[in-house]
Amino acid sequence: MVYAFLIHTLVPGPCRVLYSSSFVHEPSLDGVVTEDERCTRKEQLLQVAHRVQSEYSFRYVASGNESQEDLSGLSSTDELLSNLKTGVFRLSPGNPYKVERVVLWKGLANSGFTLVCEKDENRVVAENILDLVIRHLQEYCQVILQPSEAILKVDKVATIIHQFLPNGQLLFMNNRYLRQVEKELEQVINLKRE
């Protein structure tokens, strides 16, 4: 079960969460709801995004200096996807969530895509789903090179997330099942255009 999905910026500087969707409602342990839950959740997600940002910038620096301008030459989705940097890290309990969670991220240029998973999640399938989500976000919104699209075309983003992460559930999809989901997605998005 995935806790949340995020799209956020990656370049050094203030980190902005461009899209977020959390699937699990985490009840407060003491049962008393005093503060604004939504606000807390957003702050927690921002913390996660911050950490991803710093992980990414380290990875970027460590991998040598493949300069940014190379990317503009890469137009096809496949080329972009093959350049994605990827990482996993653990959120220890209490920081920022009460329970231990695992964060999977992939990112390129200024767009980070992050899945916050429960700790016993099957990470192989989570990686695959994240790949699929990014691929379709790129196909429908060109989000990798233009992160602001995640805000402008939020309906499409939401649809894609909904198709590939129904209720935050990671599905084991074989190639035909995937095809079917993709077709459905296509239909829904086309339907919206009409």
């Binding site: 009840p27 620096v61 999809m173």
Partner: protein
């Protein structure tokens, strides 16, 4: 299009609905029955069912108790049904108009395996249908949620152990007798359009123009081919559907001969293993009931459920086990598509975790499954590159359940942390999996294996490669990797972490010898390695590694100081001395490490003072000569010298003889001369701090051994006669002079000197609260400073041997005043009576004290290294205070 639209609408409204419900625990509880009803009743649209399943899972995730035992049973039963009884044919293309309706008469295409051959067995996520029927969708969903559901079941069953197992037929929504041989009944009741209506269904479906899969109810398109009559005429090739007519024996044989001799899934084996050998023979004659047969034979794995009805949970567990074993078998096929390659890996991981959970819940399964898992392990290790992600679940399984069947999981762990880790530390996913595995199992690994102790240098490759990501994890794991044998090795590993990071960059896939230095000749080679890697000092990984190494070293030393015995702790001393000059020259790394080591050295010697005698030779080798001196190394050196002066005493360690002290004294004496009388000025620079600490140490040692006292006085007086320009900070020369004079004066009073200069552990221990001690210290420092400065002005003499007694009277008087001040501060009014005998006017003194306070404290700090200054002042203060208290007021008068 209609269907699609309709389905979207339902979907969206449901999302809203469920989202709302799930957010609220209380209302969530109220709506569990509704969700369960949707799940278990026939005729509910598939979207609603998948959504209900998801929502239910969310609710359980939040609160395990939200669903009643009965409801859980019902849902389990339904999931078992979905897992087992999904259609084995592909749905027609819903996006295509069926122009040639006659084409349908050929029947549906059979589901295939990942390699394209026709599937022979029940549908799984690894079975490829061209398009999915709703029940196949539900099959996928059920499997995807299976693990968390099983975890939930295990949780509730362990919680209410007595209530859960087989509480008779639960009040299910479909009241079918649910023993294993009546699965067909179940199918038929669950799916109203069973085999008899197959043709009708076909027709009705082919008459639809544009069928949307998503819009159909889960029961609408079930083609229970596998359960329907084998004489299905429309089937294109009877041979392609052997499930219909073959016996389990044939089936297993065929699957066995199907170019996969090492298939882990072989049901007859299970049957034989459980000792029911009579089963296969009659079974062959019941070919039609192959499906129920297989489950029957398989249910031998669950002997308790053989008789009577099974609960939903039990049924789901059996089904899950069967399904997972089927996945293991399917995973041997060679997939054509990239997506399936990944899927197989994921499915294997999931299947093994599921089996793991099942085994935890039911220990009797372990002996039967362990063989399968071992064979899987052999398969995985034969092609690690392909199955690298699967290795960890397998090892986890062996680790969890190996003990039960006397299987040693250590070799498997070794493979994982040895060669596999060496090859794939740069793979971020696998590296994370390994770290996570170690962290989760740290207790078990420590108890039943020695794996962490043996392979930690390998694990540190992951840290060196991603130093930012795993600091916390390694801090948690580090104590588990330490024992008496590995402490030294760990010390080397941590110190060499930046070096390792550089080396990994250099030779990405090979370990370097520099990572595991041992005592001895390695030291020379280490220097060579450092020089070889010199061009990588700026690498980000190296820089960050250098930043985190001190953090981990601190954890290590804290653990050693707290947990380890003296023997282990004592081993650290020679290694510290050995390595302190041999570090990878990363920016600031030396400084940080030296600071850390100095501090830890002091702590070690404080806890075990006899180390100073034990390692006397090492220490004397270290301090003799100037090779360990220099601006960067001085800090550590100063600390070491101070430690000797402080703890080389019979008061701390009874084993410390006069001879030891004399030897140390001679070493320092030689060193002092060597330092201050260098013939080539500036060859080795040294600070006033070093000279000050050296002098203090000489005085301390001499005070414990009367024979060398004169030598000490001579040495001190020579040392201060050096040229100030030799110092790296010449401005402190006057302070040095004063310090030397002070010490010489003390040494000239052989009865007073030991009391003042010798350690008195009780004083430091009983120093009271921190604020008290600090107050005491500051005030006394002020008094001494003030008096030393003002003595001449006040008395007209400079403090020398002749007027020493006068000097001490002054000190005594001043300390009376000090004692009053001190007791005033403590709100203690009892000692106020002696204020009349003050040597100085109180007001004048106070004024001066205030002016000088700040300056004096600062000077004191730069004058001594942190510890000696405080302790020394404290000690003098205590002694003088004692003197004052002993002398009664009448004597004064």
């Amino acid at each position: 299009m209609w269907n699609l639209l309709w389905s979207r609408k339902i979907y969206q409204s449901l999302c809203l609905w469920c989202g709302f419900r799930v957010r609220n625990k209380v209302t969530g509880q109220n709506h569990v029955p509704q969700l369960v009803q949707w799940l278990t009743k026939p005729g509910v649209p598939v979207e609603l069912q998948t959504l209900s399943l998801g929502s239910l899972q969310l609710l359980i995730h939040i609160d395990d108790n939200i669903i009643s035992q009965d409801d859980a049973g019902g849902v389990s039963r339904q999931m078992a049904n979905w897992l087992k009884n999904a259609s084995t044919v592909s749905a027609p293309n819903p996006y295509q108009r069926q122009i040639f309706r006659g084409g349908k008469a050929k029947g549906y295409q059979l589901v295939t395996e990942v390699d394209g051959t026709s599937s022979r067995y029940f549908f799984t996520v690894l079975s490829i249908a061209q398009y999915c029927f709703p029940d196949q969708v539900l099959n996928v969903y059920s499997f995807s949620m299976l693990r968390s559901w099983l975890q939930h079941l295990t949780f509730t069953s362990t919680k209410s152990n007595s209530a859960s197992p087989r509480d008779g037929p639960s009040p299910l929504i479909f009241a079918t007798p649910s023993n294993s041989s009546s699965v067909e009944n179940l199918n038929q009741s669950a799916y109203p359009y069973g085999s008899p209506s197959h043709n009708i269904l076909n027709q009705s479906q082919s008459s639809m123009d544009n069928v949307s899969i998503g819009s159909q109810s889960s029961t609408g398109f079930i083609i229970p081919l596998s359960r329907s009559s084998p004489q299905e005429s429309e089937n294109r090739s009877l041979t392609q559907s052997p499930i219909l007519g073959t016996s389990p024996d044939e089936h297993s044989l065929s699957s066995g001969s199907d170019s996969r001799p090492q298939t882990p899934l072989s049901f007859p084996l299970d049957v034989e293993e459980t000792g029911v050998k009579a089963q296969p023979q009659p079974a062959a004659k019941r070919g039609k009931h192959q499906r129920s047969m297989s489950s029957l034979s398989f249910s031998k794995m669950f002997p308790s459920s053989l008789h009577g009805t099974k609960t939903g949970e039990q049924e789901l567990k059996e089904r899950a086990c069967e399904y997972c074993l089927r996945l293991l078998e399917q995973s041997e096929r060679k997939p054509c598509k990239q997506q399936d390659v990944m899927l197989i890996e994921a499915c294997l991981v999931e299947a093994i975790y599921n089996l793991d959970i099942l085994c935890s819940a039911d220990k009797s399964l372990i002996p039967k499954l362990i063989e399968i898992i071992r064979r899987l392990y052999a398969r995985v290790t034969s092609d690690v590159n392909r199955w690298k992600r699967v290795l960890i679940p397998v090892v986890q399984f062996l680790l969890n359940h190996g003990e039960t069947v006397v299987f040693d999981p250590e070799p498997a762990c070794k493979t994982l942390l040895g060669p596999v880790l060496s090859s794939y530390y740069a793979n971020s996913s696998l590296a994370f999996d390994i770290i996570f595995f170690c962290l989760e199992n740290v207790r078990k690994l420590c108890i039943s294996t020695t794996i962490l102790l043996k392979y930690f240098p390998n694990l540190f490759k992951i840290l060196a490669w991603q130093p930012r990501t795993y600091v916390k994890e390694f801090m948690d794991m580090l104590p588990a990797m330490l024992n008496e044998d590995t402490a030294v090795e760990m010390f080397h590993t941590l110190l060499d972490l930046p070096c390792l990071a550089a080396a990994l960059f250099f030779v990405p896939l090979r370990a370097t010898k520099g990572t595991r230095p041992r005592q001895g000749d390695t030291i020379d080679r280490l220097a060579t390695l450092h020089s070889l890697l010199e061009d990588r000092l700026e690498q980000p990984r190296v820089v960050v590694s250098a930043q985190i190494a001190p953090v981990l070293l601190n954890v290590m030393f804290s653990t050693i100081l707290e947990e380890a015995d003296e023997e282990t702790a004592s081993r650290m001393i020679p290694v510290i001395l050995e390595r302190v000059g041999l570090l990878y020259p990363v920016q600031n790394y030396h400084k940080e490490i030296h600071e850390l080591l100095s501090e830890r050295l002091v702590q070690l010697c404080q806890k075990y003072p006899n180390l100073i005698v034990r390692y006397q030779q090492d220490i004397m080798d270290f301090v003799s000569g100037l090779k360990n001196l220099g601006p960067t190394k001085e800090n550590f050196f100063v600390h070491l010298v101070w430690v000797i002066g402080e703890f080389a005493s019979s008061a701390h360690d009874s084993g410390c003889t006069v001879q030891n002290i004399v030897q140390y004294f001679e070493a320092f004496e030689a060193l002092s001369y060597e330092v201050v009388m260098q013939n080539a000025p500036g060859k080795v620079s040294f600070s006033g701090r070093l000279v000050s600490v050296l002098m203090t140490t000489l005085a301390k040692l001499a005070s414990r051994c009367q024979d060398v006292m004169q030598r000490a006085i001579l040495c001190l007086s020579k040392v201060v006669r050096q040229k100030p320009e030799l110092l790296s900070d010449p401005e402190c020369y006057p302070d040095l002079l004063m310090r030397a004079q002070e010490l010489i004066n003390l040494l000239k009073l052989p009865n007073v000197a030991p009391v003042i200069l010798s350690p008195d552990s009780e004083v430091t221990a009983e120093g009271g609260t921190e604020t008290e001690t600090r107050l005491y210290l500051c005030s006394f420092a002020l008094v001494t400073q003030f008096l030393l400065r003002e003595f001449k002005r006040i008395t007209g003499f400079s403090p020398s041997l002749g007027n020493c007694s006068l000097f001490f009277i002054v000190i005594r008087e001043a300390t009376v005043y000090f004692a009053i001040l001190w007791s005033h501060d403590r709100k203690n009014k009892t000692s106020g009576n002696s204020s009349g005998k003050l040597f100085l006017d109180e007001n004048v003194f106070l004024q001066k004290v205030q002016v000088k306070q700040a300056r004096t404290v600062v000077r004191l700090k730069e004058f001594n290294c942190r510890m000696p200054g405080h302790l020394f002042a404290l000690r003098i203060a205590t002694v003088v205070l004692c003197l004052v208290l002993q002398s009664t007021p009448t004597q004064e008068k």
